[in-house]
Structures are given as C-alpha cells and as structure tokens.
C-alpha cells in the first residue's frame, strides 16, 4: 500500500494537472497489475461498499482518542471529512517504518484484509481496524479510512486518469475511456485489458462514452457570430429525464444511464422495446415518463428510479419511454464518425415503428436564431429544460470538448428571494468557514426554512458573510447556528415538488445562490404561498400525484447515507435535490463535475 499512499500524496500535494498525470503514469508503470487494478478502481471514484459502518468507525475513533461524541461531531464539522477527522484524532505523523502493515501490496490489503471485514462481527472488525490504526502513520490511516468509507476524492477527474492510462498503454484517450465504461471488476486481467495496445476487442454490454454539450451562455445577438447560420444546426428540446444509452447486441439488451448504472430492470417496458431492435444497435437518448403523448415532470420519473421490480400498476400509472436523439451503432458498425445529419437519417429509419416506447426527438424548425430563441422561451410550458443545438456536421465525440459542436441552451432557473436564517460549517475547501446556508420564506408572519444552499457567492462575499455570522448568532444547536434574519438572497432553482419530508411541505430542486440582495429589506422576501402556487402550476401541467407510494431517491450515490446513519450532521439532501449521477446537469456543480472527481 506504500506505493499507493505515495501516489495519493503526490496527487494531493499539487494543483498542477500535468504533475498529477505524471504521478499516475509513474505509478501505473511500476505497480503490479493486481495493485494497479485496485488503484484504478479507487481513482475512478469507485468504493468498497458496506465494509464497515461509518458510525462504528466514528465510535472506535472516539474511544481511541479518548474524547466524547459531541467533541467528535464538532471536529468532524470543522474537517468535513470522516477519514481525515479520524486520521487527525488517532494518528501520528511519523511512526517507526515497519514492514507490516504498510509494505503489504494494495491488492492484498483490499482482498485479504478489508473485504473480509464484511463477514466479521463488530467486535472483530474493531479489533482489526483499531490494530491497524495503532500500527500506521497518519497518512496511511487517512487513506485506509478512505478506502473503508468512501470515494477517494483526491482531485483527479476521470479525464486525467484516462489520460495517464493512455500514455501508459500507447493508445488514444478515447479508447481508454471506452474500456472503462460500464461495470467492471478490478482484476489483474481487466487492468491488463485496459492498458493493452491491442484495440480490437470489446464486450457486448459496454456502452460508448457519452458525448456532452457545453452550456451556451451568450446573448441572442451573438449567436450568428459565434455559431454561424442556423441552417447548419439541428435544434431539439433538452429533455429533463435520464440521459441513457440503449444497447441491443447478441440478443441481449443493456440500458446504461449517464452515470454508468444499468437501469434496464427499472424500465422493463423500454428494455422490452429494445429487445425487438436488430442486433448491433446502440441509441443515445432520454428516459422520461410519457403518458397520453405528454412528457411528465422529472419528479414523476423520480418515483420510478428507486424501484427494481415494477408492478403492472406502476407501468400503467407512470409509463416510461425512450426519446432517441442519436445512433452510435447500427448493424454492428460504430457510426460515431459520421456527421449528425447522416446519423439522423439512420436514426429515423431505425426508430420507425417503435412508438410510443421508443420515439424520435423532434427537430425544432427555426429559420433564424430569433425563432430558436422564441422556441426556447416555451420550454417551461413544454416541461423541458431548453434547447439542444448540434452542428449538422458534428461527429459523436467523447466527454465534453470545447469545439465538439454541441451546445445546450437552458432557460434561466426559477428565482426566489429568501432570508438567511441558519448557517453551518462547509466541507472540504470551506471547512472552517460558514458556507452551508439555510434559507427561509414568509408564511403568515413567520419564517419557514425551505432550502439549503452552499454555492453561488464569491470568495469575498463568503468571507464577509462568515464574519457577520460569527457576530450575529442568535443561538446554536451543535454545529448549526441560527442567525439574525436580516439578509436576503436571490436563490435560483430548477423545480419544486410536494414533500412530506420537509417541514415546509415543499422540496426545492438544486437551490443555489444567484446573488446577495443587499438592496432588499427582509420583509420583502418571498412567501411560501408563492412556492405553493408554483407546485400547483407544475401539478396542473401533468401532475405528480404520488399518492401513497412516494419514494425517496435511491442510495446508489448516497455518500451521505453512512454519515447520516452515524447521526453526523450533514447538509440534508432530499430526494429531489440529490439525483446523483442520474442527472449530471446540476447547475450548482462546476462544469467539470465527473464521476470520481473532487
């Protein structure tokens, strides 16, 4: 594990992407395949599941450090990371360098020491883990706890890992990206396959890397100059569903979400339709709920995400459909290198006859950019997020590139003026500043919390607000402070839905701060009534009617689940707010958010 820890250190101690890639290249060139496979697994953001509970680890750390639970919680609130908190509490920086345990190879560590913990009772788990803490230095304890509890998050994106492996293998990055798609086990054989110079083989289930659009931010007046003639572009609606790739090969169907989850089980009606496609067909599209010809809001689709077995009743009530907008493979041939205009004709031919289950994404006619803009302004009433604009001559690329010729032109978010009522420490980069804010709106003379947000302010504003918060705290409950309700902020959000989990009765989707309304007095902030009217509008447009089967979002990417099980305070993320890897369009995240990235 020593080599892996050294790699982690190198990656953590530089902000230069070049140095990070170099560090990984050096590692992958030296490490035995078995170790490299696991390193790759962790660097791409995957994690061992259900090995040891975070609650248990925290408890052992409290005992080992001879402190009390509330003191642990305070510490965690400042550090913002469980593994780091534990390493700081129980670890020493320098210890005598012993052959055991740090010289044991990574693969042996994971397979023979970590994974077997699953089968042990808690007392035995404790004995092993605490024993390791006593024998390892702080750095090693940190990495170990990271492997036990969650994603590595060392500031290395999937793109960088791909680049490093491409250098080691001597094949293009796009080939490596393709090899890493889908489910795989970190075996030495798999790793050898990833870095193999031989580019001929591929597996039936493996999806292609998704091609991603960049956000168009410019004004209408710039479009002719920036994008050229509208005739050179294909315009379609940007759907608010789950981006997915449907594959039919060798008699089998695979449905992959953008977050690389197999979701065919959840949408059997779509899988069924794909089974009737010819072998060697791969389509790129959007999974939505489509009833009576109408695409329903994302909140409705959300109720299907958690289910692995789907009853007839659910199929009838919330039928799913696949809106196809691209073809990647046809008759077993990779079509990505042909122009969109050509792929579109092929797509039209393939999809004919598969309605309503698989339908074509309609092309929006527009003779001028102005007409395109007019279409975009209808987005809300149509229940879509805006427009997709793709150059007719564009090829189907990989990941997000600057000049790929694909743009998304989203409508502005809903906005709301809310009052800052509570604050707590941020995490990671913001660990010792108050950056986790709770906002409230008026309801019959009282302020009711409706959303938490942590992004949108400049560093200067954050520091200023942090100082103000320290001086204007009314009361504290653990790490959370109630502050004087005087500051108003304009929040942006993507949608609303009724929610029994929230005191306000409403869940707000992707809330973030747009600006600090220093000009607005607190009594002019918005009301809960306004949010309720918004819920009614959306309901009228197609309904949520969740009935008594309201479900929460799955725990697939629920990093906070372990922490909330530990009773540790974390920003609460409701079903509607945390759609994890299903929805990569979270505007509160940076443009380069990708699986495994920091």
């Amino acid at each position: 594990m020593k080599r892996f820890i050294a790699l982690y250190d190198r990656l953590d101690s530089t902000t230069s992407t070049h140095e990070k890639v170099e560090a990984m290249v050096a590692y992958f060139r030296e490490a035995p395949s078995a170790d490299a496979a696991w390193a790759l697994y962790f660097l791409t953001g995957q994690r061992l599941k259900r090995v040891v509970s975070a609650a248990a680890l925290s408890g052992w750390a409290v005992a080992e450090a001879r402190i009390t639970p509330w003191l642990f919680d305070e510490s965690y609130g400042v550090v913002g990371d469980l593994a780091e908190t534990i390493s700081l509490l129980v670890g020493r920086e320098h210890t005598v360098d012993r052959p055991w345990p740090v010289h044991v190879p990574l693969s042996v560590w994971v397979e023979q020491h970590l994974l077997p913990l699953r089968q042990m009772d808690v007392a035995s788990q404790r004995e092993h883990v605490v024993g390791w803490w006593r024998d390892l230095d702080r750095r090693a304890i940190f990495v170990l706890c990271k492997l036990l509890t969650g994603a590595l998050r060392v500031g290395v994106s999937r793109t960088l890992v791909t680049r490093a492996l491409a250098e080691v293998a001597g094949v293009p990055s796009a080939v490596i990206a393709h090899r890493l798609m889908g489910d795989w086990s970190p075996t030495p054989e798999f790793y050898k396959g990833v870095v193999s110079g031989d580019t001929s083989t591929t597996s039936a289930s493996r999806p292609y890397p998704f091609f991603l659009a960049s956000g168009y931010e410019g004004p209408l007046s710039d479009m002719q100059v920036t994008l050229g003639d509208v005739e050179d572009w294909q315009l379609e609606w940007k759907y608010d569903g789950i981006r997915a790739q449907g594959i039919k090969r060798n008699g089998e169907v695979f449905l992959w979400s953008r977050g690389e989850e197999m979701i065919a089980e959840r949408f059997p009606e779509i899988a069924d339709a794909f089974s009737r496609m010819p072998d060697g067909t791969v389509l790129d599209g959007e999974v939505v709920i489509r009833k009576d010809g109408k695409v329903l809001p994302f909140a409705v689709l959300q109720t299907r995400i958690g289910r692995k077995d789907v009853s007839k009743r659910v199929l009838a009530k919330t039928p799913a459909a696949f809106i196809a907008y691209d073809v990647l493979e046809e008759a077993g041939l990779d079509r990505r290198d042909t122009a969109l205009a050509v792929r579109r004709r092929v797509l039209e031919r393939i999809v004919a006859g598969f309605e309503p289950r698989i339908c074509l994404s309609p092309i929006i006619p527009a003779l001028t950019w102005r007409e395109a803009s007019a279409a975009r302004s209808q987005a809300r009433t149509r229940g879509v997020e805006g427009l997709m604009m793709k150059r007719l001559d564009s090829k189907y690329g990989s990941g997000r590139t600057k000049d790929g010729g694909w743009w998304k032109w989203k409508v502005g978010p809903y906005t709301l003026d809310a009052v800052l009522v509570m604050a707590q420490h941020g995490h990671g980069k913001r660990a010792n500043l108050f950056t986790d804010y709770t906002f409230a709106v008026w309801d019959q003379g009282k302020l009711v919390p409706i959303a938490k947000a942590y992004s949108g302010l400049t560093n200067v504003e954050i520091e200023e607000l942090d100082k103000w918060i320290r001086r204007h705290t009314l009361s504290r409950f653990g790490p959370v402070r109630a502050v004087e309700p005087v500051h108003v902020f304009e929040l942006g959000f993507e949608g609303v839905a009724p929610s029994s989990r929230h005191k306000s009765g409403i869940a707000v989707r992707f809330p973030r701060i747009l600006r600090w309304r220093v000009d607005k007095p607190v009594h002019e902030a918005d009301t809960l009534g306004r949010l309720r009217r918004l819920v009614d509008t959306v309901r009228a447009a197609g309904g949520f009617d969740l009935g008594d089967e309201e479900r929460h979002a799955p725990s697939l990417f629920d990093e906070t689940k372990a922490d909330s099980a530990a009773g540790l305070s974390r920003p609460g993320k409701d079903a509607l707010e945390q759609t994890g890897a299903f929805d990569r369009e979270d505007p509160t995240r940076g443009p380069d958010a990708s699986r495994g990235g920091f």
Partner: protein, 358 residues
C-alpha cells in the same frame, strides 16, 4: 451561556476597550484606547494605537515600538513585579514569539490576592528563537483556544523542518523556486532559527553555503531577532538579488524564498516566473486541514504552529493548578465546555480578537 455569573469582583473583565483590570487601571492587549495598555506580544491584532502608555516584556519593546511609533513603551524584564494602580503585574515567557509574555495579575501589592494569568498567545514546544513558556501557578487562567479541538496535534518541530528541507531539495532538483509563506513575526524567524540548527544534522552539509531569500515585509523583524542575539539562517533580500540578475526566473530556481501569506496573491510573486516554475508552501498549524490547504491552493502545507495544540492547552490548564479557566480566541466555547465536563469551572471570555469563534 457561561456557567456561573460573577459580579463586580472580577479582577479582569471584558469591556468595550479590551480586557480590563479596574483595580489596576489598565487593559491587556486593548483593541481600543486605554490609559494603560499591557501588551502580551507584538502581533498587530494585539497592539493597537491610541493608548497613553504601553507596558511589555523587555524583549518585545523594539517590536512594539515599530507597531505604535511615537508611543511611550516601557519594557519590563520577565518576572519583575510592576505596580499599576491598586494591582501588581509581571510578565512571564509565553513561547509564542520573541518577547511574548503571559501577564500575571494580582490585586493589591502584598502578593496575597487571587492570582490571575492571561496567557496571551502561547505554545509549549521549544523554540530556538524565543524563551520557552513558563508555567505560572495561578487561581484563574485566561487561555487562548486558537487550536482548541482534538484534531490539532502537532508533531516535533524538527520533523516538520526536515520536511521543509526535503521539499527545498526536491524543488531544487526539479529546477523550481520554493516559496515558503510564513507570518512575518514569529514563524519566519522560528523557521530560520530551526533551519540554522538543522545544519548540524547529518545530510544537511549542503546548507552551509546557502542563503534564504526574503520578502521585504520580513526583513525588519528578522533584523530585530538578529539584534536580540538569535541565531538565524543567513538571509538576503529578494529585491537586491532580483536587481543583480536580469532573468529572475533563472536566478531563483532551486532557492528557498520566504514571504508573508499575502504575497501569494500579489504581483510580487510573479517575478519568480510562471506558476509552473514555483512551488508554494505554507507553514502554519492550519495546514493540518486538507480543506484549508486546498482553499489556499498552496502546493505544500507544513504543520508548524506558534500556538498550543489541544494536548498543550490541556497540559497547561493542569500544570497551572488553576481553579477556573476563561477561554478566548478561537474554539473558546468548545474548550470551555470540554473543561467543564472534566469538572473544571470554565466559561468563555468574549473579546474582539481576530478569528473569534464565538
């Protein structure tokens, strides 16, 4: 909420000018103007202008005079009793920086009153550039709590200095400039003092004919330390060196440069070339948290602090033999609560020092 309320009988109390002693007619480290200011150490947030007279430990005098030019500053040797109003004070080493002191206060002049000690900022680690913390037995201890959480536990300073030296070497090998950020008073000189000591350790012979280049902001304080007889690593101002040679980048590759934290985002740092030719390290206790390192976007963090860590805070409370602890500055509420749980009378003393957690 503080446990136990006390009336007028408090020897030291927070008022709008600072931590005041009514009986003595003075304030400790006042943030406003006081008829008489008793200063623990020369950091700018503890020395504000406007007071009529300033008392401090002798070793601090020259530094404080730089902070409040023209003011009346009286330096007092460690341990010597001084009568102020109807109280007696004395200064004792705090180990924070040159001339740093704890202030011991007693009502009356007969030595029979309750003993209060305000620690000011302090650390328990040995430091070649200033006098080590002296335990002063007392009844009431007013202690800082900058690092009052169990996650803050320092390593031996020597080990951290070895890390700095290894990093310097590594930067040299890769042709980079090693820019080390340190606070101008205390940390910078401590690091230079430790680097000087490190020369005698095996493998560091190469340091014998080297010089550390320093930012202008550090020069004054470094001079003061040398004048006070502290053995520091040889230094040269960056400005002079840059003037000598045309191509700045070449001239500083492989060198160790020290600068105050504010230099990181200033135009000054551009003289060393593109950011790919420079590695920035920051020497501070705050570097122990990964989140803070990332926010500052420094390449390396060196966890060395001139404040007491959690174990040192607890050790000091115990060794002082005090019956009551007032906490200030930092994680004051946390430390106070913890002490109460251990059976000690404790509450938070509100002040206006920077980084006040409360």
């Amino acid at each position: 909420m503080s446990v136990g309320t006390y009336g007028e009988s408090q020897l030291l109390q927070s008022d709008d000018v600072g931590l005041g002693c009514a009986r003595g007619g003075f304030h400790v480290d006042p943030w406003g103007a006081s008829p008489c200011a008793v200063i623990t150490h020369a950091h700018s947030d503890h020395v504000r202008g406007g007071s009529e007279v300033y008392y401090c430990a002798s070793d601090s005098r020259a530094l404080i005079e730089q902070r409040v030019p023209g003011a009346k500053v009286i330096g007092v040797p460690y341990g010597e009793a001084v009568r102020l109003g109807d109280a007696t004070i004395s200064f004792h080493p705090a180990g924070h920086c040159l001339g740093s002191a704890q202030v011991c206060v007693q009502a009356g002049h007969d030595g029979a009153g309750e003993v209060w000690v305000a620690t000011g900022d302090y650390k328990r680690q040995a430091d070649p550039t200033c006098d080590e913390f002296e335990v002063v037995p007392c009844d009431v201890l007013i202690t800082e709590a900058t690092f009052g959480l169990p996650i803050y536990r320092w390593e031996e300073a020597e080990d951290v200095i070895d890390e700095i030296i290894a990093w310097w070497r590594s930067c040299e090998e890769r042709g980079k400039v090693a820019v080390l950020l340190t606070y101008a008073l205390g940390k910078a000189q401590r690091v230079l003092g430790e680097l000087e000591r490190a020369k005698t350790r095996a493998g560091n012979e190469w340091m014998n004919d080297r010089v550390v280049y320093v930012h202008g902001a550090l020069e004054g304080m470094i001079e003061s330390y040398r004048k006070a007889g502290k053995a520091l690593f040889p230094t040269k101002p960056v400005a002079l060196e840059a003037d000598k040679r045309k191509n700045s980048r070449e001239s500083f590759a492989g060198q160790l440069v020290m600068a105050p934290p504010s230099a990181e985002s200033s135009p000054w740092i551009k003289r060393f070339g593109q950011s790919s030719h420079v590695e920035i390290g920051f020497a501070s206790g705050w570097m122990s948290l990964r989140g803070i390192r990332r926010r500052r976007s420094c390449d390396r963090g060196f966890v060395i602090s001139d404040h007491a860590d959690w174990p040192a805070l607890l050790q000091t409370v115990e060794e002082s033999g005090c019956k009551r602890v007032l906490t200030t500055h930092g994680y004051s509420a946390t430390l106070s609560r913890y002490l109460r749980e251990q059976g000690m009378e404790s509450s938070v003393l509100r002040t206006q020092y920077a980084d006040e957690e409360e």
